[in-house]
Structures are given as C-alpha cells and as structure tokens.
Symmetry: C2
Subunit: 481 residues, 2 copies
Amino acid sequence: MLLSEFKLNDNEPIYKQISNELKRMIEEGMLVEGSKLPSTRELSNILGVSRNSCVHAYELLEDEEYIQITKNKGAFVSHRFKKHDLRWRIGWEDKVSSFGKMAVKLDIIKSEMPTQKGMISFKSIAPDEKLFNLEQIRRDFLNSISVDGEKLFNYGYAKGYKPLIDYLKSYMQNKGVNLSDKDILITNGFTEGFDIVLSALTSAGDRVICENPTHNTAIKLMMLHSLELIGVNFKNGVMDTEQLKHELTDNTIKLIYLTPSYHNPTGTVMSANKRKEVYELCRTSKVPIIEDGFNEELLYSSSHVSSIAALAGEDNSVVYIGSFSKILFPGIRIGWIAADKKLIDVLESIKRSRNIHNSVLDQAFLYEYLRSGNFEIYLKKVRKYYKDKYMFAVNCAQKYIPGCKIYGEGGLHIFLELERIDARMLLDESIKRGVDFMPGDVFYIDKSSKNTLRLGFSRVGLKDIEKGFRIIGECIEKLQK
Amino acid sequence: MLLSEFKLNDNEPIYKQISNELKRMIEEGMLVEGSKLPSTRELSNILGVSRNSCVHAYELLEDEEYIQITKNKGAFVSHRFKKHDLRWRIGWEDKVSSFGKMAVKLDIIKSEMPTQKGMISFKSIAPDEKLFNLEQIRRDFLNSISVDGEKLFNYGYAKGYKPLIDYLKSYMQNKGVNLSDKDILITNGFTEGFDIVLSALTSAGDRVICENPTHNTAIKLMMLHSLELIGVNFKNGVMDTEQLKHELTDNTIKLIYLTPSYHNPTGTVMSANKRKEVYELCRTSKVPIIEDGFNEELLYSSSHVSSIAALAGEDNSVVYIGSFSKILFPGIRIGWIAADKKLIDVLESIKRSRNIHNSVLDQAFLYEYLRSGNFEIYLKKVRKYYKDKYMFAVNCAQKYIPGCKIYGEGGLHIFLELERIDARMLLDESIKRGVDFMPGDVFYIDKSSKNTLRLGFSRVGLKDIEKGFRIIGECIEKLQK
C-alpha cells in the first residue's frame, strides 16, 4: 500500500491515524529499517492534511522509537525492527554460469599480483596522461556543448554520433581505405568492437587463426566465445607465413585475427611485403580478416605502411577495428569498426542489444577534438615523445639486460626473449626489488612461452626506466648463478 | 617493406631511387590508390636525404601519373592502379552466426516503421532534454576536470569510478537498502547491467520468470541468452500473484525479473503489500530476484514505497539494477548493479571482458552533478513537470479515447487497453494522420496482446498530446464502424 492510497476516517485524530499506519508499515517491514521517510511537508502534500498533523505523528513515532529524527537530515526508520529471524543467504558461487566462471578465470587482473605503490611498473601500455592538454580538452568540450546543447545528454543512435562517423570515414579514406559499400559502427573501444564481431560471426567450437603471441584481451574474448584457437608462430619477430599457409588449408577456418602494427606484445611492425603476402594467402583461402588497428597512428613517425584494410581495396574482406584510445583518452572508451555495410547492419543490432549506444557526450567531444586539429597537434607531440622514449628504453635494455633478444620497433613497449631464464621466476625476484612487468606467457594461447616479457615504458620516467632495467638485469644475473 | 627500411645505393641519383621504389610499391599495391604519401619534409627525415631529392622524386611521380599533388593537402596515390581484376566479395549474410541473426530479428527499431519528421510521436519514453540545465552541466563538468585533471581521460577501473560508487552506496542506503556484504558495479545503463547479470547467472535453455507484459529490451536480452521465458500476467494493472505462486512451484526456475515502479509498459506501481507478498513467495521458493529500479526516482512525487532490494534487508537475494538515465542523461549511459559482493566480483570480470570499464569522464561528471545537489534540484523540477503532464495526458485520454482502460500512475507514459480494436490496425490508421505510438504487443513475451498500446508523453508538448490523443480517438471511431 502506498502512502498516497491511505484513506483517512473521521473517528480518530488525524495524527494518530497517520502514526498508526506508519507503525504498521514499519512493523510489517514495508518501510524498512534505515530508510528515509518523506518530510512532513511532503507527507502533508501526499495525504492532503495539515503539516501540523504530520509533525505531531512523527513526534509520536519518535517517542515510541519507531523512527529517528536527525536535524537537517530527516526522519529515518529505526533499526530495531527486524523482519526475519533467519537470513536468506544465496550461495552465489554455485549460481554462476560456466561463462561467468570462465570470465573470472581468464581475468588476469585477478590472477596477477597487483602493482604495489612506489614500485617501478612496466606492466602498463596505457598512454602517459601528462601529454593530454587539459586546456584544449576543456575548450573542445565546451565547443561541443555549444554546438549540440542538451541533445548530447539524451539518447543517440546505436551506430554512433553522425559527425564522428563521417570524420572517421574521411580519416580512413585518407589512409587509402576504400569505403564503398562499407560503413562504420562506434564501439566502447577495441574490446567491445572485437566482442561484437565475434558474436556476429562465430559460434562455440568455431576454429579461428591468430598470431601467437597476441593481445591477451583478444585471447580472452576468443576463449569466452569458446572458439578453437590456432596460433601462427613468430620467428625472429616476424610471422611465420609458411605455417600460416599450412593452417589456411583447413577449410573450416572461420576468420583470422591480426595486429599488423606495433604488434602486442612483440612490438614489431609487419612489413608492407608481409602484409601483402598474408592478404593474398587469406584471399586464396577465402578467410575473412579481422584487423586490429592497434597504435597504427604512431606508425607515421618512422615509416609509411598501409593497413591491410587499405591493401584490400574494393574487396569487402577485412573487418577493421580502430581505436585512438591506445594512445589517446582510453578513459572515454571510443573505438570503431569499419566493414561491409551488410555486416555493420548486424553489428549495429548487437551493439543496441548490449548497451544501446556509446556516450553521445564523449563522441561529440572526441569529434570536436579531431575536427579542431588538436588531435594532429597531439599526434606530432607524442610520436616524438614515445619515439625518444623507445630509443632510450632499447639502449637501456642493451646496456643492462645482456644476453636477450629485444623486439619492438617503436610504440609503447618492447618485448624481451631471455636465454634459459623463466620470466615468472624473474618476476618474483624483480618484484622483491620493486620492479614489475608483464610476463610473456599471458600473450600465448597455450601459455607456452616461459622466457619472454613485455616492458611497457609509456608511463615510466627515463630515470626509472634506467633503474628498473638495471634491476631486471641484476635479477637475471642472480638467477643465472 | 617500410620506407624506413629502404636502402639507398651510390650508383643512381637519389631522387630516381626514391621514385623507382615508390613506383614499385604503388604498382604492387603496397601503397594503395587514394592513400596519402608522407610530406616531402617527413620523407626526407625518414630516409635521411635532402628535402630537395624528395620534392624532385614526387614531381617525377606526378609527371608519370603515379601520384596527384594537391596544394595544401598533400600527395596521393593515383587511382589508375588496380590490384585485382576480380574483386573478392564475401557474402556476409551467410557468415552471420545464429546469435547475430537473432539480434537483427529482435531489433524492433529495424522492424517498426521509423517516425517521420513532423509527426506527433508517443513512441519514446526518453526524458525531455529541455529540462536539463546546460549551465549546471557545464559547471559540473569543469569542476570534475579541476578535481581529477588528465586522469579522467586515462584508464579507470572495471568496477567504476570510486567516488561515484561511494555516492551510490549512500544513496541506496538512504533508501533503506542494507548493503552489508554487498557491492556496486557501474555499467553502461540498465541494458548492459541486465546483459551482464544474465551472462553471469544463466545458460541457454534456463527457465526464468518475468512480468508479462514487460520492458521489451529485457525480453530481447533474455531471448538472446536463449532463455525460456515464463510470463506472469497482469490483472487490472496488478501482477497475478496466484499465478506467480504456481509458476514458482517449478523448482528449475533460475531467477525472476521484476520492474516494480512505473512498470514498463503498464505504468503501474506495485504496492508495498504486493512487493512484500512477491518477495515472500520468492523467498519460500529460493528464487533470486533481479529488480529493475526503472524510474524509481520519480516515485517520491506522490508516494513512498521501498524497493524490493530494501525489503530484502540483510538477505543477499536481490540483484538491483539502477539507472538514472531513464529520467536524466540517457546519452551518457550510466547505470549500476547493487548485489552480493561475491556476485559483483564475477560481474566485474565480465564487464572488463566486454569493454574494460565505463567512460571515466562521464562517471566523474555524473558524480559531480549528484554531489553538487544539482540532481536533487533537477528531480524536484521534473517530478512536478512529469506529474502535471501525466495528469493532463490521463485527462485527454479520458476525454478523447472513450471505451478504453487507462493504466499508469505517473512516470513518463500511460498504457491503454482497447475494446475489440487491433492496435496494429489503429497504428496504421493513426500514422496516416501523423500520429505514432508503441503497439503493446512488443512488450508481451509471445506478442499475444493485440489490443494495447503505450503512449509516452515525456517529449510531447501539451497541445500535441491533446491533438494526438484526439486523432487516436477518431481513428478508433473509424475502425469501430
């Protein structure tokens, strides 16, 4: 019964009727302990009685310890009324689906040691937020509000904010991607994009090819979709296309997932020749390609190489998943998928079913940041900044960590292959000395590699890079004894 | 091959070597048609040669129509070089998984007629964005940037932005919810919250109970999870608890999904007595409850009734999914799940696997909007505004649409049950006369109801409400003849 449904009679004083009704609701647990009652002003409105009667009723309830009145806070139901003698406890662990259990098991944040404060951590490959220009951000945000006003805060479209989509279309066309009969869907970063693509194209048990090692979030998602992963190995930082050719002879392969630029974790860039070779192999076998555009934007610092989506020309064979958020604003979670129109139509429906659409505010802000040219200014700055840092990190690795192979051609991390040293044992040692990194095994589909590690340097200062690498080198020395 | 890998020799002029190499890359499709070349300044840096050699090389390439140079835009690969005679066309329709097909089929936006410009549309139950106060929004945004700075734009936590979580905890405690051994996860609105909960707790084929009719997005999600839906019917706008009791005797029921406040689509509020009765029935059968807190915030306008999560007290049996975004800022997509700690731990891993976390910027902004008291001010304003509109809509319905039952006790919509009129036929008629609404069948798990419709009035002006309802009434009259 709602308070508003409460019928007053003429036989009893009104304050008495109100307090009796509230008592009953409290005793029967309909007004629960700790909950706030309406103010006497609100209550008098709801019931259509004088405020005085309500004040009087509340005083009576307080005297009888049904409620507690705290000045400036209001009236709250007392804690003495318990509803049940026995609590109903659900053992949620037993209720969790096999999917839920797998999501926990594959969540490396829950299995890895958390980085302690004060440690030098090479775990992250997030951008250095000090490079973000708050003044530009403020201005671009205020501009986007001026343009669209309140609309930014109401429902938008599942496909995304139109001006941003249009911007990304010309952005991709400038990079040589043929977009005829193609379209774009905005997603919550690469992660959601890849999840949606897998939902649209695969079913449990399907076989897919990926690089091995590869992005651990991608491995997690493919496993959560219960796919059978076929890993193509790297030789000296380069994908083994002989093996790829062999794997592609299996005509049940659903798709192939590739990260051609600053590959995570090896940091290597697939050469234009290799891209073409890989594309032609997939073309011959008719296996669609999911291209992860990971950190492609950093490429232009030292080279110029087309994405596989560009090499595909008029073919509709590549599903390109882009994201600025690896180098810019990961906090606002914006990525995109560029693919065949008919496929985007399906992906759009899945996106809508998952979370309706991305934040309109964030999309409008990002659009303004791109449109205003601030993105270009930022890119120039960070390309130089990360390149210098990369050079420094490579020099430090050569100096302090001898006897290892160093992979990586730029980007935000390097990858080491050690000789006869278990990276997990090395991690234990170096954590003791205050240095943290990502053991390479998490990037292998079978966790097979024991002697590799990824060192992200984007958010570590030069002094700490030097100190941290020196400590890692000393730990290796110790383990070699 | 990357440009940076290009080795120069001493036998030929440098400009010639450069242009030959670029020609080869263009001819072999590694530099694709339409793509932009690096500027001559960039190229001279990459290759370590004079800028003049690069300018010369580009001129030669332009003469031979390999590239086109547009002033102030740059050099682009010409369109005359096609790579393949035959395009590789993938028939994506045939590649789509059964899940993807279902997502399209259940996407009512794709099957319903889109609302034409100039029409009076009662389809939407989105808030009226004119009620948002842009000045306050601007201020709260700038404040949140001042507090956290660049951090808002870098990675955050899967569980959510800590100050917002803490705020929501005390917000729920003030509403009488006992949060001991419970926790909160931030999600992209109700939709993502419900999807994550279903992923964690259900597997294909599981049986779940829901109200019938109910929120069509919830029906879609339960179907996409391949659940078997058992609908409990409404009698005169009230859930049939006799039927519920009967359905709960089936001990394979996984969970029950309920929307007790301003139920979508009927607009009715479940009374406190009914809430308690439903809770006790679930308690006896040990069936966990997913409570959709839909528009609960509007409740205090006319009544005071505890959420089922509050009635549960110390029990850990209710998974509460909250969202302000039905009345406030749907565009930024923020909702939350309050549930048992151990369950939240699982939901957090699923959230991380789907899209890492919600936009930190939006969470920090919303926190500031709540903290500053602007939310309370807004709520007071909109409760009155929507209540007045609701009264007006009910009056118009009574006046212009005779012979129908009107359901709804406030909120943003009313629900009509017609006598012997097919709502789809009525929709066809009224669309012809420029009036659009949501046919009720989309809210029924078996689409069984033919004679109901939902009329959202939140974004329709008073004049148009009157005009639109009058037209609907006239269309009914026409159909009755």
